[in-house]
Symmetry: C2
Subunit: 203 residues, 2 copies
């Protein structure tokens, strides 16, 4: 992509995050990159097209990581652990973009929103299928693969709200902890909690 277009995209991403998509005008974006508003239209069609492009860039990253992990192979547990770590890393490195995507995706016009939903849906299905494969092979416990997948995505995506590069934990440490919780669970083996197989369900 031409560097001017990338510059416009970066400026838009920042403004959308700070002011919100609705409150950001083409004039704001033009000023941020030192262009006349009319010249801006030489590079981009609309504010909506910018938001779609921002969303698309990030979705491609997530899919590229899954491609890499699937190509490397290994057990479902290994692939799932790698997917959790990769997802955490992408969220940490693209927090600004994801903040815009999660906050503003509802602002996309229907046909564009459909496109973004299609890509996120495809990613969710890929992860769900990986979990289903593990359940079928008894490598994973007999959970509902769809619900387990959404728990994983929630844990990882939610980072966009709390992660800080200056925070207590590095993305690597967060990834390790999430893998621990999600693959191994919180209950200590043989601990008091293990006996209560379904805690809270008893009368």
């Amino acid at each position: 992509m031409a560097s001017r277009e990338q510059e416009i995209l970066d400026a838009a991403r920042k403004l959308f995050r700070q002011k919100g998509y609705y409150a950001t005008t083409m004039q704001d974006i033009a000023e941020a990159v030192g262009l006349q508003k009319a010249s801006l239209y030489h590079y981009i069609r609309s504010k909506e097209a910018l938001l779609l492009q921002i969303a698309g860039e990030t979705m491609r990253l997530f899919h590229a990581e899954l491609d890499r992990i699937e190509a490397a192979g290994g057990s479902v547990a290994q692939q799932l652990a790698a997917a959790i770590r990769a997802h955490v890393k992408v969220v940490a490195e693209h927090q600004e973009t994801l903040t815009v995507l999660f906050r503003e995706s509802h602002a996309l016009p229907p046909e564009h929103a459909e496109k973004v939903r299609g890509e996120t849906g495809r990613y969710t299905r890929r992860l769900t299928e990986l979990i289903a494969r593990g359940v079928a092979a008894s490598e994973l416990r007999p959970v509902d693969p769809g619900a387990a997948c959404l728990a994983i995505l929630g844990a990882c995506n939610w980072m966009y709200r709390w992660y800080s590069a200056d925070g207590r934990l590095t993305p690597q440490q967060i990834g390790d902890q999430f893998v621990e919780v999600i693959l191994h669970g919180l209950l200590a083996p043989g601990g008091a909690g293990r006996q209560a197989r379904t805690p809270g369900r008893a009368p």
Copy 2:
């Protein structure tokens, strides 16, 4: 609260979710409840005050559930399972409010944003302390309580984006599945995955 005020709050919550907080005007809210804009100010001070009130209502619900669970007592595992189920239930029942809160909390003026952050921070600390207590008593595995808490909150909060009352799983079933994944983990005991204690970390 007077029913007129509640009606205004409900209308604002709906409009904020549909159009976004920025794009919603006091005029929109007045029209939605059949009032003149000037009369609206008899009931509410500002759009910001409305958003703060919406956020406050929901935070009180989450704290009330934790109060109830702590009062009931039991093991950490039982309390944690109950907290996950309660959180899932509140998200399902107050999805519209949470959508507004998660999307628009950044739009609050600094002193109000501080208040919301204070309440969500207090809730996070309460859950983190519960997990830390379980780790200290060896009822839970030696995870990082802060990271584990944020994984739980992420899994539950993320529901605001995907939960549908017409969906495949009821809130009860989602709560059960999340408890399974978070307390017991995905790996089958004795399964192939269990041997790889830290999958993906080996070279």
